[in-house]
Symmetry: C2
Subunit: 338 residues, 2 copies
């Protein structure tokens, strides 16, 4: 069995996460038991939710245990199988964590899934046609529930969730306005992703300025918003929300480092009779098949061309992850291991 | 036609509302046209939403116009009618405003409604069996949608909305915990209204203390919350909310005077996958018949005995209203005009 490099959570962050919280080790991969599959990971997915799990405190998932392999989504190839449904060479996605190989009990529900790489590249199954894509789909379809002509906004628009959100919203006849950091990302959101407009939040560091920019980009107000970040963006969106606007609350990256970020004026939720709803897509397995089918067909049809930020080699994972938390990635952040 | 004392909105508040914002005048009541009814008001309803309408800014209703009679619900008796469905002596509820008499176009939908005072006192149609009661019903049934055994909380529990909420929640087998100001109100909420417990927020002036009190009163966490106040209470409830908890956002009295009250940690909405929804009960006329029927039967059956704070005479309305905004009322605030 091959040697297996792994990255463990070595300590919990005090405030901002740092490279010192992680530790690279090497271990043997254990021999397979019946029903198990050995997977070689080609890609690790890096996602903002991982930062929440690094804390010990109450969150929606159990904290990532100290001293264990960092958990996360993986895409790769079966190298050895003692399970009848999997064979060496099968492309698969799973939740193998920050390591080169994983041994998977393939009968466990959701543990390992064969994917079709004819029309969708393997790495996309960690992004647009994976958890981030389904996240966008759930917030859009199940919480925002837009009608054609609605104006929708999304923060972190150039990222994996945001880019899928834009394609899904446009497929429903909505006007969709992104919010992203920096002129390059905004140009990409407008030109490559096909959003109707994109606001560079770095040019609008205060509420009045960001709110005015939203008003200019959304002259008919905002009917639905998908929140990936929290903080100032959400405050500004509330100021421009139409009556009965819906907010899907998916990420609060801005608050992960400890100090909670307040919402400046929650009374606007009442004034506008809004709905603000948080969700975790892994709790809604019933929507995945429908969502993945739509996302796959958007990719196959060329209407969703997600960008990827790819770091090379397992040792690069911690820095790539810390960069993601600071918005240094550009599109879906991955680590390639082959 | 009788002379008619009226209270006008004379100026908009700068910060806190004051008696100087109102002006008492006297006018003639105009002669009736066909289809009109002259109503003598026995009771005016004073409600927190009126404070929002005194501002010029964006709110869920048009601002109360300057120089016009303060708008508000009224209960009274028909004294003269040129409409076939109404006759002198009929007990009626309507939206006659802060004045002794009103001339009503009785064909206008919702303008005037005959009520049955055999089992429900006339004044209750402004409270438990009126808009405040339906407000409680909508938030409980349509937003919180509890199941038996859920733990629910409500702020301003001794008021018109809170007391109806308690009776409706207990009728559904829920544990219901009130939040109110002062030992008298809390004793009343527990003993007379039959809540399972009541927290005196004045004894818990900071978040840690209020949160600890909620934890003690809600050992299984909070599944649903009805918010009449905003501010610290909502912050504390979010800290004790269970996964999938629902918050019906009905009032933000605490923020009406201008300075917006922030929500300390909105990320908890995501962490707990909560739903926070604002609503205005007058936008949901379809639920009123069902809600009023249930509320009337709770009153008739002795399971909802709302308390009233009654000010005497039209001139007392402004002070009574300002007292309501500071929580000086005890139960539904009314002005009696006869």
């Amino acid at each position: 069995m091959p040697r297996n490099q792994q990255i463990l959570l070595d300590s919990r962050p005090q405030g901002e996460a740092s490279a010192g919280n992680f530790k690279l080790v090497e271990a043997d991969t254990p021999p397979l038991a019946d029903g198990q599959v050995l997977v070689r990971h080609h890609y690790l997915s890096l996602d903002p939710y991982m930062r929440g799990r690094m804390n010990a405190g109450k969150s929606y998932a159990k904290p990532q245990p100290l001293g264990e392999v960092m958990q996360g989504g993986t895409a790769g190839e079966v190298v050895e199988s003692r399970h009848p449904r999997f064979a060496a060479g099968d492309p698969v996605v799973g939740f193998g964590g920050w390591q080169q190989y994983s041994v998977v009990d393939a009968d466990q529900p959701g543990a390992l899934r064969k994917v079709d790489t004819a029309q969708v590249p393997l790495s996309y199954y960690l992004g647009a046609v994976g958890m981030p894509g389904v996240t966008a789909w759930y917030g859009l379809v199940k919480i925002i529930a837009p009608k054609a002509g609605d104006t929708l906004t999304v923060s972190a628009a150039s990222g994996a969730v945001g880019s899928a959100f834009g394609a899904l919203a446009r497929a429903r006849g909505c006007r969709v306005v992104g919010i992203a950091g920096g002129p390059d990302k905004c140009a990409y959101v407008r030109d490559a992703l096909g959003f109707d407009d994109c606001i560079d939040y770095r040019r609008h560091p205060d509420l009045a300025s960001l709110s005015a920019a939203l008003q200019a980009a959304c002259p008919d107000g905002i009917d639905g918003h998908f929140e990936n970040v929290g903080g100032l963006v959400l405050d500004a969106v509330l100021q421009r929300a139409n009556p009965y606007a819906r907010v899907a609350l998916c990420g609060m990256i801005a608050g992960y480092d400890g100090a909670p970020l307040p919402l400046a004026n929650p009374a606007l939720i009442l004034v506008n009779r809004m709905k603000v709803e948080g969700f975790i897509v892994t709790e809604h397995p019933e929507v995945w098949p429908e969502a993945l089918a739509e996302l796959g067909s958007l990719v196959a049809g060329g209407r969703l061309r997600p960008r990827e930020s790819i770091a090379q080699g397992l040792a690069a994972a911690p820095e790539a992850f810390l960069g993601l938390l600071k918005g240094r990635n550009f599109g879906k952040q991955l680590v390639r291991l082959i």
